[in-house]
Structures are given as structure tokens and as C-alpha cells.
Subunit: 326 residues, 2 copies
Amino acid sequence: MRITVLAGGVGAARFLRGLKAEAPDADITVIGNTGDDISLFGLHVSPDLDTVMYTLGGGISEEQGWGRDGDSFTVLGELNAYSAGSGWSGPDWFNLGDKDFATHIVRTSMLAAGQPLSAATAALCQRWRPGVTLIPMTDDWAETHVVLAGDPGQPGPGPGTVHFQEWWVRLHAAVPAADIIVEGAAQARPAPGVLEAIAAADVVLFPPSNPVVSIGAILAVPAIADAVRAKTVVGVSPIIGGAPVRGMADACLAAIGVPATAQAVAAHYGPGLLNGWLVDEQDKAAVDAPELAGITVRALPLYMTSLAATATIARAALDLAQDLRG
Amino acid sequence: MRITVLAGGVGAARFLRGLKAEAPDADITVIGNTGDDISLFGLHVSPDLDTVMYTLGGGISEEQGWGRDGDSFTVLGELNAYSAGSGWSGPDWFNLGDKDFATHIVRTSMLAAGQPLSAATAALCQRWRPGVTLIPMTDDWAETHVVLAGDPGQPGPGPGTVHFQEWWVRLHAAVPAADIIVEGAAQARPAPGVLEAIAAADVVLFPPSNPVVSIGAILAVPAIADAVRAKTVVGVSPIIGGAPVRGMADACLAAIGVPATAQAVAAHYGPGLLNGWLVDEQDKAAVDAPELAGITVRALPLYMTSLAATATIARAALDLAQDLRG
């Protein structure tokens, strides 16, 4: 069986663990979101690609869900000392451990040598052997930006546009966003292998990733959205009982005017894209919601509380795909 | 008093400590060798600039003489793991600690942002406050290369040219060199402030640095050599009793056909450049050597065994300069 998964970070990585356990012989390609990528200290950081790679490769910090296991912070401490005391200043709001720095150094050195991000990702994965083929959505520049709503009457940041990571990590998504835009996506070409993996897939899965800045950023590349539209697509809701399971997806949804409900997220993707949708039992009203006509909705427990629970969710997604394909 | 010093790494840094102790009110400018600079893991490493900066700023590893105090090696360990197990491979012969990596990350990020090396050096020095003005010899590309003699009849590296660091660090200078060339130096322009510091100096000092790859590399920039020639120049011999005090300067001298003696080094610089020369008591025969006519030679203990001993050497250099200027 061939499965192609559009993936964000932590939620996708955990779902993929369950999927691998449930379908050990499947040929799984993961198309990773790079809209969150950011240059920090002159190094190219790919948070979502690394979270998938580390999680499936056994190098993740299980406590954090991102970053390396048992990491130390000597380099960052020194960079902060330079920021405080020198004629240089770097961002003080992004946490990078020493082991993690090595990954970014390797990636950046390959990019500086003229290699595309997909080649750097493949090289890094040769060490981590994640058991899936991990491909960035694009080798081109495409960056998720947040248009801040601001409030001229209040202190704090006013209107303006910031990199997604700055809004998410530095501002904790606490400053209301007026819009979220994936700059460059309209011109971006899918990385080598992306369209082939989608075309060859028996099913395309959306794990419970952020529908705006993870799955949404990948689908912002027009050729990817077109390719996905031609396939059987089953998604797992990242919203349970009106709240994101993890992270601040509700703030992202608010920015684009979509309510934070399992139903509204599916309606946002639309029946032209999504064929099947798994919601939590709390949200079973979505099963017969008229606005989701054209999407087959099933309700089951969606909390990924253990590998077994996650594998059950993955199995439900594969079963739904099979039923949809008839 | 204004003193300008042409500096390599460890020997120069230790001499400068003595000079600062002896002449605490002097305005000291250090022109640092950048011929040894190398791109490692995509990062710009300036070994000599950093050794001077760390030593005078209190961040040096006293045991090694280079690198940061109390450093750890997590990043390098990870890079080696990538080299061994991934589709990427980096140099495995250069030791960089985590704290040191931060310096190279800051420098590289400034260069990538379009700043010259001299600006990056000034920014880094704002943190370290070395008590001297440290300027790289040039902002342009100038790189010391070693032409290997090789031996077609033997196994091992044959003829070829390698970066100085590869010969020095990876090959331990054990492969005979046929020549040492500072590529790019003839076209390199002195960094901003270099010529001004030489012109304004009461004396130009050559610390006991490598005469070929440290002082020699700096003098390979034509405009610097011309400016130095116009000044009172006093050097401290890096060769005592026919052997380098530290490092493998003898192998470098052999490559350019200069005997490893205090006398031969002074003759190599020549009376058109060097006005005064300090040799160790073991080498006092140099004082009256006919080949050093035009250079005033004085003999005194030259081992930098303590800060006090080093300060005495620095004092002797300043005294000799004063006598030469009359």
C-alpha cells in the first residue's frame, strides 16, 4: 500500500508513529511543511521536517515533542552572551539545543553549497532512517507570515506582518492575527518527488496537524493542491470539542475566520478536497452535518494518548479510505 | 605610545599579554593573520583572530592555548555522527567546541548579511574587550595554501596543494611541503584601519609568530608590506636554538628554503623591513652576524614562561625600538 501524508510537526509526527505501527509494510511518503522554516543565526531551521525526522528516527525529546533528546544549550548561551555584550544581536526567543544546532549546520552548509532543501533533507534522513520518505513541500522560498491585527489604542505591537515563528514562539500567538499568508507559495514548485508520491498514493492522509499553517501551507502550493484534489483524501481532525488538542490552532483558525470546530475545519478544506474526515466522539454531530455533504465523517476517540490509541486512529483512517475507494 | 603588532595565534597572543602588562597605557592595534581562515561546516573560522581575542579577553583555554575555556563538544559529536551515517560528510580533523561554534556562527551570520570580516571582528571584540584594537589583515579573500612535495615512490598523499589548515592540523605538517603560498594576497586590500594603524605607530612589532604563515601571510598583502617598510620594526625571534618554541614553524621555513635559525629568519625578513631583532641568549652569535648588517640584534631570554618573563621581552622590544628611533 502506498500512503502519502501531508505533515506539520508534533501532531503529524505522533500520528505517523501510529501509522507505521499499523501499516508496517506500507510505502509511506511524508510531504513536510516548510512554511515555518526560518533563518536563525544565519542557519536554516526546518522545525516541522526535523520534528518528523527526529520523532520517527528515535532522536526526539519526548518531553518537548520537538528538539533533540537530552540536549544541552551551550551554543545558545554563548549566542545570548554575544547578543547582550557585542555589536551583534540575534533572536533571543527561539530555543535551539547543541545537538539540534548540528542538524541546522549540516542543512545550511548543504544549501550554501547549492544543494536544494530536499537533498539536504534526504541526507539528514540517511542518518535518522525515519522509515518513511520525507520530502519538503518545496525547495523554493515559501514562508508563512502573520498579519497582526494590533490595536492602536493599546500598548504593544501594532499592525504589521511578522514571520509565523515570531508570532507563534515569541508572541505566543497572543497578539490577534488579521490574516495568515504563505508568501511565495503561489510561485513555489513542489520539491522533486512530491507530485509523484501524491499521484502514486492509494490514499492521501491529513494527520491532526494545524489546518492553517501546516496542512494549509502545503496546500498553498498550487500544484500540490491540484494533485491532492485528484486523490482519495482522509483527514484526522486536530480540533476536539472546540479546542485544539495541542498548540494554538484556534488562534490560526480565528485569523482566517474559521471557527475552531472539527466541522468547520472540514468545511474549510471542502468536499472538493476532502473525502473522509475523522472526528472525535465529542464531535459526532459533524457526522450528519449538512455543511459536510460530500465528505464521509466518522467519529471515534481521537486523543493520541498512546501508540496503540494512535494506531487505532490510523487504522480508522485507512479503513475509511478503503471504503471510499470502494 | 602607539604600537602596532602583526599577529599570528598562540605565540602572538601570549606576547600581547606581556606587552599589555608592560605598556598598559599604550594604544595597541593588532593586525591579525587571516591566511589561516577556513570554512568548516559552512562556517567562517578565523583561528588567529579568535586566539588573540579569547586570550586577551579572558576566554581562552589556557591548557590548549586556543579555543574556549571549559568547552564541550556536543555539536562536533553530532556533526561526526552525520558524517558517519548520512549523505553529508564534513571534516573530521578540526576540533571545534560548542562555545567556539557560537563565535563562528555569529561571524558567519554577519558575513552572510554582507558585513566585512573587520566589522564582524569588531562586533565580537565588543563582547571580549581584549584591550587592543584587533583588525584582520584584509577583508578580502587571501588563503594560505601548501604545495605538498609528495613522493611518487611512496604511499600516502602525492603532490598537490592543500589549505594550510589541512596540512597543519590534519597532516600534522608531517608531509614535506615544497612551497607555501598565500593565494589572493597580491590582490588583497588591507582592511580599514590597517594602513592607518601602521602609519600612526611609533613602532611596529613582530611577536614570536610563525614567520612564514603568520607574519609572512600578513606581509604578503603588498600594501601592508610597503607600509611596514616605512616604519621602525622590531621582531622577536620565534626560533630558539634552532627549533621553534612552539608549533612547527621549522616545517614552514623548510618549505620556503629558510633554515630554522633565529639568524636566518631575520635575514629572510631582510634589513629593508626589520630594524631590530631580539634573539635568545642561545642564539647570541646572531648579534654580530655579518648577514644581519643593518639589523640591530640583541640577545636575552626569550622563553615566555610567565607573564613577567613575557613582559620583560616586550620591554626589551620597546627599548630597542626607542634606541633605533634615537
